[in-house]
Amino acid sequence: MTIAQTAGRRPGRMSRKQRRMVLIAAAGVVLVVAVGLILFALSDRLTFFNSPTDMLESPPAPTDRVRLGGLVALDSIVREENGRITFDVTDGPSTITVTYQGIVPDLFREGQGVITEGTLGSNGIFNADTVLAKHDEAYMPAEVVDALKAQGEWYGDEAMPAEAPAVE
């Protein structure tokens, strides 16, 4: 078998071993590409959850998409023009103001747990592009529970106070 034959348009002349090598090489390339993409994306495209305290201690870069979660502070919801809404997210000691344009979920209300996703502006206001609140009144996002526990603001699964924990 000459080189011209194997390199030409008639790959059918390859030996069994060569054919298998081509298959393995193709599989290897796809595998390497997939692994490379995953590694790159895992280092770059993860979204991290922050409580207001975390965020004040180590603010994310303005380009980083992060999650901010906590309770919607009482009397903090302000509806502005054209569907823009601002509210405070708190974990007790710390509070961050969030601004969001859009329709908030059905169960979004003061004193309820909430997770928002977006970027922290240089003015210290969090620009959310997504607001999540689960379709279940009893539901409190696990991350929010952790954050509240860390701040000593958690009142147990059964005994959530009717009013949200006092916020300054």
């Binding site: 069994r16 999650r67 279940d136």
Partner: protein, 662 residues
Amino acid sequence: MIVELGHFALILAAAVALAQGVLPIVGARRGDERLMAVAPYAAITQFLLIGIAFAVLMRSYIVSDFSVLNVVQNSHTDKPLLYKITGVWGNHEGSMLLWVLILALFGALVGAFGRNLPQRLKATVLSVQAWIGVSFLAFILTTSNPFLRVAMPPLQGNDLNPVLQDIGLAIHPPLLYIGYVGCSISFAFAVAALIDGKIDAAWARWVRPWTLGAWLFLTVGIAMGSYWAYYELGWGGFWFWDPVENSSFMPWLAATALLHSAVVMEKRNALRIWTVLLAILTFSLSLLGTFLVRSGVLTSVHTFAVSPSRGLFILAILVIFIGGSLALFAFRAQSLSQGGIFAPISREGALVLNNLFLTAAAATVLVGTLYPLLVEAITGDRSVSVGPPFFNLVFTPLVVPLLLAVPFGPLLAWKRGDLYAAAQRLMVAFGAALVGVVLVLVLAGFDEVLAAFGIGIAIWLIVGALSELASRAQFGQRPLSVSLARLAGLPRSAFGMTLAHLGVGLTVLGIVASTTWNEEVIVDMTPGETIIVGGRALTLDGYRIEDTANYSSQIARFTLRDGDRVLSAIETEVRLFTSRPGEVTTEAGIRTFGFSQLYVSRGELTAEGVLTVRAFWKPLVTLIWLGAVVMAIGGLLSLSDRRLRVGAPKPARGGHVVAPAE
């Protein structure tokens, strides 16, 4: 009393399943025909018993028997009958019962219609199937029993979660379950082949229709779930890369790969070991999906650890079946002989490429779905989440080359293909795609390079799929009447494949068009105000309240006009559920124009009568789901092909259809 009857039937079913899991396979080992003959009867009996249990539970829901804990927790007398019935599987216990019911149904189908299956294979397959049945029946009876009674029956139930009171979500789980569980058949066949150390084209001919059936239901189920999320959640998105969505998408990707590799095995007797492995992986992903959705592990690894009995039980099932079958594969795969050989450029080669990309894509989705769980399990850190940015970055580059290759596959000959000849036959598709790209660039501007490329791929897929049919009917090379006769003479599976590939193109077109040219308006409106969206005028007319048996609706009514002409009224509502105070759902108002949709969602109404309105114009958005429907119709056509149904070679028809039947 009747409830206990259902409970006993379920226990009996577990006993029958145990017998079915032992006797036939022992018979197959010993060559004892009487023991092997137990299999089909046991399979049918098991199905009937689970059927009785399911019917009993359904009756408890219909008559609102509040002495049953499951009914108390999930039903309400005021609920419409339809949602009383769908409420049976709208909860954990009931949905697991549905799961085993479908599992038993598939076993019974193999038992009843598997007459031309070799007896040994059939006995082994049904035994393997029964092992799955035994484990899940034990799971239900020990940790998730739907027949538990309450000592003091309350007068009223807690009602089904309002979000679940929707027809789309009501029928979507059964469809997905049929798909998930359908994969168990190809799994059972694969394990049986490994145990017997024997596998041939007849095996593939059996596996293919079952996989095709399961794939068909998965396709429709996923599409329906996606459409439900689109109109119910009010965000206008169709796919969120949510772990629950992913857990149905992974088996779909694997089943699509299996479907294609089974073709190679049936036609060319090649890729045997790979096909067996893929059958195992597909069902493993289905089990994983069941585990992810049912164990509570998604909310948090912690929730899972706090009430571990259910989660650990399913995890054990998962480990035993996936680990066991993979170990069996490792030990026995060498006993399966290697099949036919083929050149890299050939139909087989194209299908291998398809498999490579599909499994790689499924693997990336798996990594993205499990990564946060692993991080939390190992470090206890719950702050990492993997969202759309990850999946878009990883998934897209793996799917684009696959989509580009799709039209080539069917045009390459088996064993040794001619890429140049295939490319020649795709000139029309290539030209059409190029025209599409240029048109988008000219009309939408050079900013939309990615969109132009996406539209090009969609056209390439659609025209490419049709080119294959045209080339097999030899349009342009023969007189039109001859070509039409050839077209009519093609087997149904040929049309099936064309439709399935065309459906992929339609879905791609829908995704690209609706995300690129999506128009969104968020605005505060008072009655009488008008906004322009999608080139049409949307006027808020006013509000009204309507009460039904179990909820009260606050409806905002709009009128849509094109110039002065009134097109239609659009209503969007918020439902307040009286039986579960504080729970609300939103129903988006949607009008379809051709394949495009105008979508109106509402926010809260303030005391001053100001309503926040979010309106979208979504061009060609319905193609996303219609494409899936076309794929499913293609699958159905292929399934109805006589060749697959009777499991016999296709008889020669006329003289002139010589192309290898696909």
